[in-house]
C-alpha cells in the first residue's frame, strides 16, 4: 500500500499529473511559433500559456487562430497584450496580433484557470496566419485530471 502511494507521488514528481509547462517550436519559412503551455492540469489550477511568434520575413497581419481545446472548460483570465481584434474563424478563436517585422518577435500570454468540472483530453490546435495566408499549424493534447 505504501509503495502504491509512493508510486503516485513519484509520478506526480515526474509531471504526469501536471502542471509544469512544456515548450514546442514549429518553424516555417515565414515565421516560427513557440508554444509554452502545460500538457496536463487539474481542476481549479491557474496556469499560463505563452505563444512566441518570430518573424523570418515581414508578417503584415499576424493572426493566431486557437482551436476550441484552448477554450473549452477553461476560464481565460486575461490575454496580454490585448490583440487588435478578436473574431470567430470557422468556430475557432482568431486573435489579430498585427504587424511583426522581419527578425522581430511577438509574445502573447494567456492566463487560464481550469473549470473544476472539466475532465478529460482536449486537442489544442493553434494556427498562425498572415492575414488569410496560412503560415504554420501546431497541435497538442491537454489532459485535465478530475
Amino acid at each position: 500500500m505504501v509503495v502504491l502511494v509512493a508510486a503516485v507521488s513519484l509520478l506526480a514528481l515526474l509531471n504526469v499529473f501536471g502542471q509544469w509547462p512544456s515548450t514546442a517550436t514549429v518553424a516555417a519559412s515565414a515565421a516560427t511559433l513557440e508554444v509554452r503551455s502545460p500538457n496536463a492540469v487539474r481542476g481549479g489550477l491557474l496556469y499560463q500559456s505563452r505563444f512566441t511568434v518570430r518573424a523570418r520575413r515581414d508578417v503584415k497581419d499576424a493572426t493566431l487562430v486557437l482551436g476550441r481545446g484552448w477554450l473549452e472548460g477553461l476560464t481565460v483570465n486575461t490575454i496580454e497584450p490585448g490583440p487588435l481584434s478578436e473574431a470567430s474563424r470557422d468556430g475557432r478563436l482568431s486573435l489579430e496580433l498585427g504587424h511583426v517585422p522581419a527578425g522581430e518577435k511577438y509574445v502573447l500570454y494567456i492566463q487560464y484557470q481550469v473549470n473544476p468540472t472539466t475532465v478529460g483530453s482536449h486537442t489544442q490546435t493553434v494556427a498562425l496566419y498572415d492575414g488569410d495566408e496560412p503560415i504554420l499549424t501546431y497541435e497538442k493534447t491537454l489532459r485535465v485530471f478530475p
Binding site: V5, S9, N15, F17, G18, R42, G43, L45, F145
Partner: protein
C-alpha cells in the same frame, strides 16, 4: 509536481512548529489553542493546494503527507539516535516528591500546574509522588510512592 513539494514542505514546517510550541501546549489544549489549530490547518491547506479543486490534488497532497509520516516513523524505529529529535524524550518533572525546577522551566510548566495534574490523578500532594514524567504525547504520568 509542485503540489508534492508543497505538501512535503508543509509537513516539515508543521513538524518544526510542534517542536517549537512544545508538548505542554499540545497535551492540554485550551479553546484558544484549538482555534489556532484550526486556523493553522486552513493556512496550511491554502499553501499546499492553492487553487487546486481536484480529487487528484487531494490524493497527491494527502499521499505525500502520509508518506512523510511513514518515513519519519521508520527513521525513528530504525535509528535510535534520531528518536529524541523525531519523537522527543520523556522529561522527569518530579523525583521522590522533589520538583525538578530546571525541567519544569524547560517546558514552561509551574509546580502548581503539575500539582493540578496530580490531583486529576487522585494524588493530593506532590510529596506522595515517586515519579512524575512529561511523556512525549504531552501527558504527565504519575507513579505514586508505595
Amino acid at each position: 509536481m509542485d503540489i508534492v513539494f508543497r505538501a512535503a514542505i508543509a509537513f516539515l514546517f508543521i513538524f518544526l512548529l510542534t517542536r517549537i510550541v512544545g508538548r505542554r501546549e499540545l497535551g492540554a489544549m485550551e479553546p484558544f489553542d484549538l482555534i489556532m489549530l484550526i486556523v493553522l490547518g486552513d493556512l496550511v491547506q491554502q499553501g499546499v493546494t492553492q487553487s487546486d479543486y481536484s480529487v487528484t490534488g487531494l490524493v497527491l497532497a494527502g499521499g505525500t503527507l502520509a508518506l512523510m509520516q511513514v518515513a519519519a516513523s521508520y527513521l525513528s524505529f530504525r535509528f535510535r539516535n534520531l528518536r529524541p529529535m523525531l519523537d522527543g524524550e520523556p522529561i522527569v518533572l518530579v523525583e521522590d516528591g522533589r520538583v525538578l525546577e530546571r525541567n519544569l522551566k524547560r517546558e514552561r510548566l509551574t509546580p502548581e500546574e503539575v500539582a493540578a495534574q496530580a490531583r486529576l490523578n487522585q494524588i493530593d500532594s506532590l510529596d506522595k509522588v515517586r515519579w512524575a514524567v512529561l511523556e512525549t504525547s504531552g501527558q504527565i504520568s504519575f507513579i505514586p510512592k508505595q
